[in-house]
């Protein structure tokens, strides 16, 4: 039974225009992967920083997975949402990153994008009233089939610190260096 421990935290979101942010995250893996312990999805608190465009989340990750194949290597999907004073929220960033395939400590920077406003009126509304288009299907995040239909804007970065421990992969001829 090959096992992967993913220990770490979603550290912060940087370079976003909006001041108040929270982030929902999901760990997605293939069908040959099974969760042993831990939470594979979650949502951070709303965080903001007045001085710099950086929201600290420090949401802990502690996931223990087991796998029967390398296929479907886990990916970390993040969605960053902005919150305004009326407690309304809308997505301002989608992004994903594969969990690194080497053991040890990693800092993963997830570049995110958001759906571009659909026309002039929409962009005006977004600029002054907040809000934004979101994905109807979240699988667009990781599947490449329909992504070409999207028009997006690049937005900030989500930074995650991951420490990875791999067990028993060498029994199946997979070695990490």
């Amino acid at each position: 039974m090959a096992e992967v421990h993913i220990i770490g935290q979603i550290l912060k979101a940087v370079d976003f225009d909006e001041p108040h942010l929270f982030c929902t995250w999901t760990l997605q893996s293939g069908s040959a992967w099974r969760l042993i312990q831990g939470e594979v999805h979650g949502q951070t608190h709303v965080s903001s920083n007045r001085l710099e465009s950086c929201s600290d989340f420090a949401a802990p990750l502690d996931i223990h997975l087991s796998c029967a194949a390398v296929q479907g290597w886990p990916t970390l999907l993040v969605e960053v949402h902005a919150v305004n004073v009326l407690q309304q929220s809308w997505p301002v960033g989608y992004g994903f990153a594969h969990i690194p395939a080497t053991p040890g400590a990693h800092r993963v920077e997830i570049n995110t994008w958001k759906v571009a406003p659909n026309g002039w009126w929409q962009s005006i509304r977004e600029r002054f009233g907040g809000g934004g288009a979101s994905l109807s299907k979240t699988d667009l995040l990781f599947s490449g089939v329909e992504r070409y239909k999207l028009q997006t804007r690049s937005s900030g970065k989500v930074i995650a610190d991951l420490h990875l421990i791999f067990r028993k992969f060498e029994e199946y001829g997979v070695e990490f260096h």
């Binding site: 039974m1 069908s31 042993i36 312990q37 029967a68 194949a69 070409y148």
Partner: protein
């Protein structure tokens, strides 16, 4: 643009439209090239060098200008350059295979699309690697020039390329390369880096608005629609079928002709040709004679063709008519019809006959004139030829004759008759009638119908290029030998196009799943036509093995993008790409592959079964599965995974609280070890093995028997209670429901009356008295909390242990002072209390001294099903010994903590669950001999008499408060009141009356005990019947102190630990036979048995029903001491005697007293037992059930078996060995970290002590004379530090023994030099009632310096 291939490309590109951006780019490149031409030579050389370097060691910028050239293939040059890093090369090599399958589109730059290229096989062989060398590979003829290394390399490269093309290196290329004017050469920025023989075709996609561009469709749908299948040869074929099919074919031809309108078109063409000819003739210019002649010849040919076609058409109609009339005749002749074909004739006449005639005549005359002219021309031509031949003097022959006009006219007339219809002839139009089923009226003669109905159904299987795609449904053969299918099968094709379509015809058989293969049809798929469906008619011929069959299938197929099909959603609406683009995108397999395929595969595909024989297809495997380490199932079956997972899910109570799960699978042990085996657990009762000890077997059977008995009685009463609730008779009698009246005619009459009168209201159903509760077999959490206040009389350490703890320096002074010693004596123990259940344990702080106060609450979390909680809660007393170990360095001081077991108190969880709480003061069960410790004797402390120090008793008492949460003491009582009653009706009624009286007097309603109790036979009897004089077992009866022996014997019976309503007063009371046979019982049965024995001994005794501390509802025996006439209680579970005023008596409440003749209920308000009056004659205190005023007297006897024959116990020696071995094995097993030594030297002493113990326990009444034994032992072995104790318990099974040993924690002694000694002594009474004595001793040899003191 100097190299040969680029201009072609350029030309090709120019055909398509180029964008402005592209053109600009092109211009820039060309201007750049032009500039480079006029550079000076030296720089040119340098640049040339750089360029070729760039080329060979390919950098990214080399490809900037040549984006349209795919650089997917890795050239051998590059391989050669990278020969050091084969690994990296392998990586790049594997990368390019997916790159070929994807199509990338860049939208910003001139967009490019690469077609999917079939993968080339590369072999990693050093011999195949090409290394660029600076030396020429071939001899250069031109010796005059001296080419530089880069030129030589270039030459080599071109030579290799030429080799690849199997052509020669062109000499002008060589000369050009070797030429000094090198600037002429590399001028193109397009550098070709590949020798791939595949020619890439670029596709240009014009930029489109983003909402219109939807990418390139890679997926297409091939839709095959099967219309019908027709048999042209079949065993069932009749003449009618043949004719109908012929007619059908003819009609198809007819309709096709009509659709094509060949005749009309020919006619028009002919007219045009004639007009042109006429014009040409009119112009009559001499240079046009050839033209005229050709035109005339064309006209002639057209005319002849027109005649032919027209004739054919006419013939077809005539044949149609003829066959149709024949078919009609046949149908009318035979009395059935089995085909559907129907024709309708529209017969019309020319509206204007005159004009038709004139038209016809006009046409005929025109044609005739034309024919005549042609003939004349021919004649003139021949005559001229003849004349010439005559001039030459060749063979004389007849001159050609002039064409005869009459003859010509006649022949033309004949042709006309054949080809065109007479103007008088009616115009016939054929229309096929598709009559509906009812109108068709198909029927067959009965005999044929029968044979035909038999399983004639067929289906088709579809193969695309030998790949099985699907099959149609099964269709029944219609009477007209058609299968009307109208079924379409859609095949989704991704990137590959099948070439052949093969259809297998199967006959469905009823016997087997597979049908019988009949025939195969094969055709080539033409998928290039995108727009319209292709219609096909495939003929087939059955295999020679099967009955002769032939026929054809009508199908059409359609090939198009799937998106078209769901075109309703405009989001995915994809415009069809132009044809040329599609063709390049979906190349019909590359030629090489096709060639290979055609050589290997036969033209007709092999059937599936045949195929299986030839090469076995692998089982269907997803790539993902193929690449898995192991199947997912093994992951699930992994023990570690299961454990981790179930711990995570928190559903299983066993795994929920697991702290540690081993990392390696082999370290995981199955959890059904001895740890979970419990004393009463029936599944673990017996050690697995082939040989069972007969005593074990007896105990096991007894246990099973009692459980079964309880279950049966419980079920029976539950069933009866339910039946009584529901089963009122359907027919109610009008007044009073008396069985004595309900017979005979009168009752019938009454019944009838009652039907009309309506039911009497007297019969009111009682509310449900008993509801089954299934709650107590669910898993629950319990919190057991023990509030332990204080204890008295804790034994103190004897000298040896004392010594250890003393500081050697201070001891010298202290030993002088007696007072200090005495104080020390009583404070040298550090006791603590632990509460444990199973593996769980919780302990208190340790206090000082022999009368410690903790005042602490211990909590224990338990989980389990109430029914399965059979173990005892253990409240154990330990002494914490802290031993200082001085190492060589004075600075280091080690402490070794050791816990010595002093005694315990067991509370069955089942009784705690029933009662909810226990409180007060209890006496700990201390070991008879406790070596290393000494009882705190009052005399040694002070001279005062012990009465003034009531707490300095000789036993250890603990004040405690024990509760269990959730406190559900709602165990539903067994509804024994529904069971059959053995008493007379009068007695029952009397008891009912007395109950009414009593319930007003009782201060507490729960004191009431139902006098009718259920026996083991499942009948209710009065409780007084249980008491009868019973003889003691033979050996005991003869002993001098029979009373003590009887108590001892009864206390050694095994108590059942079970959360069961049968254990209570309203449960089952066992008679002596069942009890003694099984040797298992509840505590109340022990009381009854003891009472009966005492009656047998002639004592005046009563049975006291009450509530005692660790057992809940139980029976004590009250008897009058014959010598002193003093009343005493006897606890049957321990055999101990208590005075009535004893506050430490575990009996906490008295409900009633049962004598042989009467039963007295306690109606005193006082609840404390010690304050209760036991003058049974006092009517103010006791309420007699039977009194003299009523004529009822208590029923007696009949339950117990008076002459019960006791059985002899089995041989004990084997059991003793077993127990000994088990204990030693267990101690070794528990001490996992250390080696366990057993000391045999102490064994005889211990055995000797144990042999005395049984009689001591029986007769000494818990007096402490055993100090003598420990002192004796300490005297014999002065150089050892000893801690040991005896354990005594009735034997149930080996697991219970090991459980007892484990709770003493003697195995935790972690002194490195410790040795253990185990002695076992068994004392058997009758009927396998066995008392087990175990002596456990932990021996630590004293150090030399300690010995010295």
């Amino acid at each position: 643009m100097e190299t040969p291939s680029p201009p072609r490309r350029g030309k090709k590109k120019r055909k398509t439209q180029t964008t402005r951006a592209y053109r600009r780019c092109e211009q820039e490149v060309e201007s750049l090239l032009r500039e480079t031409k006029y550079e000076d030579c030296g720089r040119q050389e340098l640049e040339l060098e750089a360029r070729s370097l760039q080329f060979f060691h390919g950098a990214d910028d080399a490809a900037v200008g040549e984006k349209e050239i795919p650089d997917q293939e890795i050239t051998p040059e590059e391989k050669g350059a990278e020969e050091n890093s084969i690994d990296g090369e392998a990586a790049t090599e594997t990368i390019d295979s997916p790159a070929q399958t994807y199509i990338d589109i860049e939208l910003q730059e001139p967009p490019l699309v690469w077609p999917g290229v079939h993968k080339q096989v590369h072999y990693y062989d050093d011999s195949l690697l090409y290394r660029p060398a600076n030396a020429a590979h071939f001899q250069l003829h031109l010796s005059d020039c001296n080419p530089g290394p880069s030129q030589i390399r270039m030459l080599n490269r071109f030579q290799e390329q030429a080799k690849g093309d199997a052509s020669k290196l062109s000499s002008d290329l060589v000369s050009e390369l070797c030429d000094d004017s090198r600037s002429q050469f590399v001028t193109d920025s397009r550098l070709y880096r590949t020798v791939c023989n595949k020619e890439f075709q670029c596709i240009f996609l014009a930029p489109a608005p983003i909402n219109q561009f939807m990418g390139i469709p890679t997926r297409r749908c091939l839709t095959l629609t099967f219309k019908q299948l027709r048999f042209t040869a079949h065993p069932l074929l009749l003449t009618e079928h043949r004719m109908a099919q012929q007619l059908e074919d003819l009609f198809d031809q007819y309709t096709e002709n009509r659709n094509r309108q060949v005749c009309r078109k020919l006619k028009e063409e002919l007219d045009i040709a004639r007009q042109v000819g006429a014009k040409l003739v009119l112009s009559a210019r001499p240079e046009l004679t050839d033209e005229i002649r050709r035109q005339l010849r064309l006209t002639q040919k057209l005319r002849q063709r027109y005649y032919l076609e027209s004739t054919a058409e006419r013939n077809l109609s005539l044949r149609l008519l003829r066959v149709w009339s024949k078919l009609k005749a046949l149908r009318s002749q035979q009395d059935f019809q089995c085909t559907r074909f129907q024709l309708k004739l529209h017969v019309g006449y020319h509206p204007n006959l005159e004009s038709a005639y004139s038209d016809w005549k006009q046409q005929f005359e025109d044609d005739l004139a034309e024919v005549y002219r042609e003939q004349l021309e021919l004649f003139y031509c021949r005559r001229r030829q003849w004349g010439e031949s005559m001039v030459d003097g060749a063979s004389p022959s007849k001159p050609p004759r002039k064409p005869n006009f009459e003859k010509l006219m006649a022949s033309l007339k004949k042709d006309y008759d054949r080809a065109f219809k007479d103007p008088e002839e009616p115009l016939v139009d054929f229309v096929r009638l598709y009559a509906d089923e009812a109108a068709a009226k198909l029927f067959l003669p009965a005999s044929e119908q029968l044979s035909k109905r038999r399983n004639r159904s067929y289906f088709l299987k579809l193969y695309l290029d030998e790949l099985y795609v699907g099959q149609t449904r099964t269709y029944r053969l219609e009477d007209d030998l058609h299968l009307y299918m109208n079924e379409s099968i859609g095949v989704l094709l991704e990137r590959t196009l099948p070439q052949n379509l093969n259809i297998w015809l199967y006959e469905k058989s009823t016997l087997t799943q597979q049908g019988r293969r009949l025939a195969v049809m094969s055709t080539r798929l033409d998928l290039s036509r995108k727009d319209k469906a292709v219609q096909l008619k495939l003929g087939f011929l059955a295999f020679p093995s099967s009955p002769k069959m032939a026929g054809d299938v009508c199908l059409y197929y359609d090939y198009g993008p799937i998106e078209v099909r769901r075109g309703a959603r405009d989001l995915d609406d994809i415009q069809p790409l132009p044809d040329a683009l599609l063709r390049t995108l979906f190349p019909p397999r590359s030629k090489a592959v096709a060639a290979v395929a055609s050589t290997t595969e036969p033209v007709t595909p092999i059937g599936p079964c045949h195929k299986r024989k030839k090469h076995k297809l692998p089982a269907l495997l997803f790539t993902e599965q193929q690449l898995q380490f192991c199947p997912i199932r093994t992951l699930f079956s992994n023990k570690r995974y299961q454990l981790l997972r179930s711990r995570h899910q928190q559903r299983n109570v066993h795994t929920k609280q697991l702290r540690f799960i081993p990392a390696l699978e082999r370290e995981i042990i199955s959890d059904d070890g001895d740890a979970l085996s419990t004393a009463g657990d029936s599944s673990q009762l017996l050690e697995p093995g082939t040989y069972w000890n007969p005593i074990d077997l007896h105990k096991h059977r007894g246990y099973k028997f009692l459980k079964l008995l309880y279950e049966i009685i419980g079920n029976q009463s539950a069933r009866r209670a339910k039946a009584q609730q529901l089963a009122h008779p359907l027919l109610f009698l009008a007044d009073g429901f008396d069985l004595s009246l309900a017979t005979g005619w009168t009752s019938l009459w009454r019944a009838l009356c009652s039907l009309f009168q309506g039911q009497s209201t007297a019969m009111i159903r009682e509310p449900a008295a008993w509801q089954p509760q299934a709650e107590h077999d669910q898993y629950q959490h319990f919190v057991v909390s023990l509030h332990v206040v204080r204890a008295t009389g804790v034994p103190v350490r004897s000298r040896h242990i004392l010594n250890i703890e003393e500081d050697p320096n201070s001891e010298a002074d202290m030993s002088n002072s007696l007072f200090v010693t005495q104080t020390l004596m009583y404070s040298n123990v550090r006791p603590f209390v632990s509460l444990s259940y199973g593996q769980r344990l919780s302990r208190s702080r340790s206090a000082e001294g022999s009368n410690p106060t903790w005042n602490e609450e211990l909590q224990l979390q338990l989980t389990g099903c109430q029914k399965d909680m059979r173990e005892d809660l253990k409240i154990s007393l330990f002494d914490e010994v802290i031993e200082r170990q001085l190492s060589d360095e004075a600075s280091d001081l080690y402490q070794r903590v050791q816990c010595n077991w002093l005694g315990e108190y067991r509370v069955p969880v089942s009784s705690l669950l029933t009662s909810g709480k226990f409180e007060g003061c209890i006496e700990l069960a201390m070991p008879k001999v406790l070596i290393g410790y000494r009882r705190p004797l009052i005399e040694s402390v002070t001279n005062m008499p012990p009465d003034q120090y009531p707490e300095f008793k000789e036993s250890v008492h603990i004040w405690f408060y024990l509760t269990i949460e959730p406190n559900r003491c709602d165990l539903p009582p067994l509804p024994t009141n529904v069971l059959a009653c053995a008493e007379t009706v009068q007695l029952q009624a009397y008891l009912n009356e007395r109950r009414m009286e009593l319930q007003q007097l009782l201060p507490q309603p729960q004191r009431y005990v139902e006098p009718l109790v259920c026996t083991a036979l499942g009948k209710r009897v009065c409780v007084t019947r249980l008491l009868e004089q019973l003889p003691l077992p033979g050996v005991l009866a003869s002993s001098k102190s029979a009373l003590e022996s009887a108590c001892r014997f009864v206390s050694l019976l095994c108590q059942l630990r079970s959360y069961d309503p049968c254990m209570g007063f309203r449960g089952v009371w066992l008679d002596n036979q069942t009890l003694l046979d099984s040797t298992w019982c509840s505590v109340k049965d022990q009381g009854v048995l003891l009472c009966n024995y005492m009656l047998g001994l002639g004592l005046e005794c009563w049975l006291v029903l009450g509530h005692s501390c660790p057992y809940g509802e139980c029976c004590y025996v009250l008897f009058r001491q014959p010598d002193t006439a003093e009343l005493l209680f006897v606890d049957p579970a321990s055999g101990r005697h208590y005075q009535l005023q004893d506050v430490y008596c575990p009996l906490r409440r008295v409900y009633c007293v049962v004598g042989k003749q009467n039963m007295y209920f306690n109606i005193q308000t006082e609840t404390r037992v010690s304050m209760t009056h036991f003058n049974l004659q006092d009517a103010a205190c006791w309420f007699p059930l039977f009194n003299r005023s009523s004529n009822q007297s208590a029923p007696e006897g009949g339950v117990q078996e008076l002459d019960y024959a006791y059985k002899k116990s089995f041989e004990l020696s084997q059991l003793q060995k077993n127990i000994e071995r088990k204990i030693m094995k267990k101690i070794s097993a528990w001490r996992t970290t250390r080696k366990t030594n057993f000391n045999r030297a102490f064994l005889p002493h211990l055995q000797q002590i144990l042999s005395d113990m049984e009689s001591l326990a029986t007769f000494s009444r818990a007096r402490y004379e055993e100090n003598a034994y420990s002192e004796q032992l300490e005297r014999v072995f002065p150089n050892y530090m000893l801690h040991g104790f005896t354990l005594n318990f009735p034997y149930t099974n080996l697991a219970a023994v090991s459980d007892r040993i484990r709770t003493t924690c003697i195995h935790y002694n972690n002194s490195p030099t410790v040795e253990f000694c185990v002695a076992v002594h068994l004392k058997a009474y009758a009927n396998d009632v066995i008392s087990v004595w175990v002596f456990l001793l932990a021996v630590v040899p004293l150090d030399v310096n300690q010995r010295g003191q």
